[in-house]
Subunit: 225 residues, 6 copies
Amino acid sequence: MKILVINPNSDENFSKDMEVCGRDFMGKRHVVDARCVPSAPKFIVTDYEKSLAIPGLVKLFQEEEPHYEAFITAAFCDPAIHILRELTSKPVLGIGECSIKLATMLGSSFSILTFYDRSIPSLHEQVAALGMEKYLASIRVLEEDDPSLPYEERFYPSAQKAVYQDKAEVLILGCGGLTNGVDKKLSQRLHVPVLDGLICALIVASGLAEYGVGTSKICRYKKEY
Amino acid sequence: MKILVINPNSDENFSKDMEVCGRDFMGKRHVVDARCVPSAPKFIVTDYEKSLAIPGLVKLFQEEEPHYEAFITAAFCDPAIHILRELTSKPVLGIGECSIKLATMLGSSFSILTFYDRSIPSLHEQVAALGMEKYLASIRVLEEDDPSLPYEERFYPSAQKAVYQDKAEVLILGCGGLTNGVDKKLSQRLHVPVLDGLICALIVASGLAEYGVGTSKICRYKKEY
Amino acid sequence: MKILVINPNSDENFSKDMEVCGRDFMGKRHVVDARCVPSAPKFIVTDYEKSLAIPGLVKLFQEEEPHYEAFITAAFCDPAIHILRELTSKPVLGIGECSIKLATMLGSSFSILTFYDRSIPSLHEQVAALGMEKYLASIRVLEEDDPSLPYEERFYPSAQKAVYQDKAEVLILGCGGLTNGVDKKLSQRLHVPVLDGLICALIVASGLAEYGVGTSKICRYKKEY
Amino acid sequence: MKILVINPNSDENFSKDMEVCGRDFMGKRHVVDARCVPSAPKFIVTDYEKSLAIPGLVKLFQEEEPHYEAFITAAFCDPAIHILRELTSKPVLGIGECSIKLATMLGSSFSILTFYDRSIPSLHEQVAALGMEKYLASIRVLEEDDPSLPYEERFYPSAQKAVYQDKAEVLILGCGGLTNGVDKKLSQRLHVPVLDGLICALIVASGLAEYGVGTSKICRYKKEY
Amino acid sequence: MKILVINPNSDENFSKDMEVCGRDFMGKRHVVDARCVPSAPKFIVTDYEKSLAIPGLVKLFQEEEPHYEAFITAAFCDPAIHILRELTSKPVLGIGECSIKLATMLGSSFSILTFYDRSIPSLHEQVAALGMEKYLASIRVLEEDDPSLPYEERFYPSAQKAVYQDKAEVLILGCGGLTNGVDKKLSQRLHVPVLDGLICALIVASGLAEYGVGTSKICRYKKEY
Amino acid sequence: MKILVINPNSDENFSKDMEVCGRDFMGKRHVVDARCVPSAPKFIVTDYEKSLAIPGLVKLFQEEEPHYEAFITAAFCDPAIHILRELTSKPVLGIGECSIKLATMLGSSFSILTFYDRSIPSLHEQVAALGMEKYLASIRVLEEDDPSLPYEERFYPSAQKAVYQDKAEVLILGCGGLTNGVDKKLSQRLHVPVLDGLICALIVASGLAEYGVGTSKICRYKKEY
């Protein structure tokens, strides 16, 4: 089967990394393609930037929908997920929702690591909307960041605080595209599971597609009214 | 002062009704202009239709932001409200949030009246996201609808069930543009307050603008990062 | 129209300040009268003190109810609000509820500033009863207080901690009668909206009265049984 | 030890019934006195009626506090409970809170039986404030009431619906003074535990007094500030 | 890799069905073995029956833990799941948790179909403990059951009510061992996704094992203390 | 009447202490016997250890059930409580649930003192399952523990932090068997109520038995299905 990963921003390299990572994980089992949205901003943090990405994301989805069996929106805020679910009866997964729900099966609390503190309020809303706030140990952002360092170094100080101060039992990389083994490297240093949302979404997307179940079209996601 | 009401769909008459209704309510106190989004669908129900409306809505907002002191997005789902709050330090209100929060100051439970049952799940999400689910008596949709009848007739049967079966103490018209006195007519027949979200949003928008307070720009709604 | 502000304590100056502040805000639009409760304590903090105020407050309300179109109980704990709603079909607002609900339309979190730590538990209860606890960043009290200083100086240290440590995006003055521009002065120094509950309640009370809606008398607030 | 039951209304017979019932239950273990509030209404349903009862209730409490080791406010809405806790370091219990919390130790859901539907919203608030809403099966009121019948007959139809339609595993008599074996008679007919709040409160009040623990005076209930 | 499905009861055929179903789904990808607990009851409904199953279940787990990469407890109440997570650093999944969390990625509400009404209260507790109660449309049990009919016939009436009366968008088979295509047959008749917990747990278990993440051993699930 | 306290571990001295403590409290009123579970571990902290205790605990219960009028499981996690409620129609109480619910009648917040941080996550789950999380100030564990000191000394540092840093108004000893006056000694030093779960459970168990109410057998706790 074929799974489409939609990277909502316009960063080709970003998508390429995701594709490599997804194909490594999925191996021969399914085809994984990753596509970015040329009309979107290079990087998406604010709701405004997200709004600039959505029209192109939806257009891309509509063109590609017939060619894939499952779909992933690969930004942690799960952009446009309800829109896409209206447009298909196949499974549509978000990397935020999948990583948060799988995290709670590995430990009794999790922390989310992200870049900017301005994202904290909307991440709290997202976790609460999923009913998962009681499992949330903390949301930690980069501190005294040195962009010249590799991601695992940049996130290590806040990851460590999440585990030892906030008592997180599982860590989640709260952003798409941290695909070059950041999860494994942090996990080795901190001895807790560290989840990359893309892999989590691929687990669920491929599994649901193989199971042959998809989005329910009977009420919220039916198109006609 | 000047208040801009943005009707997210492209229905001119709809916007005109809102403008008339808003100006009637606001009187000489403030200028109220209502604008629709020409690039949007004629009517917005699904998340997909909403996504088609947002780019034009945001563009309109960016052009008009300097000319107004407060802003209202006039669809019950409060579309783009977080985006607009990122783009201004002035108050931005939604007719859904304002009517729900004012309803809970008039009685201990409320029901929302809307058109289609496919909207019920997202309305539940919206109410829950506002922390107001414990006040929600029910969400009622049109039953055996006869579009040839005036709105107050079309909504009366479900309004009556909301009050007498679901024990709603306050009713909310869960859709923009029901501006021709539907609220007053239903209220007279059912002897409970019936709220039109546009008036509720005008109360809050004008009040906050007069008070001189606006959107907090210190974290979630700051633009730079 | 005429709006009555009931200051539940017996401090004349307090009521006078409220009246001046309310009239400044409302301008020529509506008459604002503020009355205190002669039989009440000079200052109300405990539930016991509140109980001493309520009989006189209710008596005053019953005498004045015919002469006003909307009513505000001007202590942050919204004393007697359910009692008054039983005694009228006009709108009755509390400065606590109104400021908390408007605060959540200006930012994604708020803190309440108050005088004494013994008030913190009941403030938590009040916020939770309103369904707003998820927006609550903190409740902060005066620290190393010097009563000789103006209120904005006395509250500044805890206000600053609320914003920078607790990540509050909006501040609420959790007590009636801080009317002499404390809100504006703190806002200018901290660059976040700071709300005075009296103004918030006047916005809602005047708006609902102009809209012609009042307390629902169909169940909780009906008198007969 | 001595336990004082305060019946917030002015009905002597009501208090007498409570005293008899309490003494029957407590036997020789402790003295139980029940007192009504002469200045209160004969019967208390509304918040207004409650407000008329409280000043006399508090005065009575202040006079009697030195002479008793534990106190019970014997109306289901637990009137003045926080006030009394401020005025003593001895235990103060409410029949509503005690019966609701003990009910959840006997089954996984409970229903409250009360007289009038206008009480339903505030009972919901009370249950929610106690964190017990998830255990609440329903609140049922008298239906086609015939006041000439004994209470167990009057409440039987709604009690039966609570058990068989709402799936309540435990029933609570949501009103003071239903003391003449109504609990036992309904229990025998419906084969579920039926709780009288007065007995529940006596269990907790006498137990806490014997244990030698009382109201915490360190924060919320301390008097000075 | 090898995945062990532990059927907590002692029904060999039951385990055999699960093994066949699991192997069909997993194909050549992983070995799936299903084992029952010889010392357990034939069928598990009550907490008492569950307690009889657990010692043998734990013993079986301890013997087999070295030979498998992931584990599933195959009763809907997820028996012993926290115990097993203490005893391994590999992933341990429950069919209840996995089906409930995957259901919420396919629609905005779900219902659980189970055998006996005495299970409803503990199912409610389980859903609430997972933070998923807001997605729960209903828990439906067999009605006028005819055990001679195939499961899909027996569950159809309550499944239909769940979809059309309770507005469930997704259905979950709330019991292990309904493996012979009951999910697909109900889904075809009702046009909504119907989930078998065993498949859902296999999706997650195999995915997490392939990802190389397991149970966090840093706090709740560490053995030593 | 006779009350059986079941100490789920195999520590005879532990049970003896409980028996002495329980008999001291109950005096001549009721017989209190405490029994341990010979087949259980000496000390129970993990879910695995708990699972080793339960079969013997249940067997002991089944043998003794006819000889007692009320039962208490005397570990803070309330082990096997739902199982025992299935096996009797008499009251079955847990020291965790009873102490938590009584604590909330003495103050507006409580903290739990326990031994090991690995217990914190499951204690949080337990408190949340009871609906009491909003009253929870903190869960504190032993710090720089010196086992040679008496318990009141060992717990004092964290008790003090619970009261002064976490603002707990009531403290709960979150473990069975701290019966030698630790509660009173900590209470005297910190001037807040400190509750021993065993006494709390005896208050409720004896009271319910005297009242003649027991476990509801109509749904969750009925045996047949």
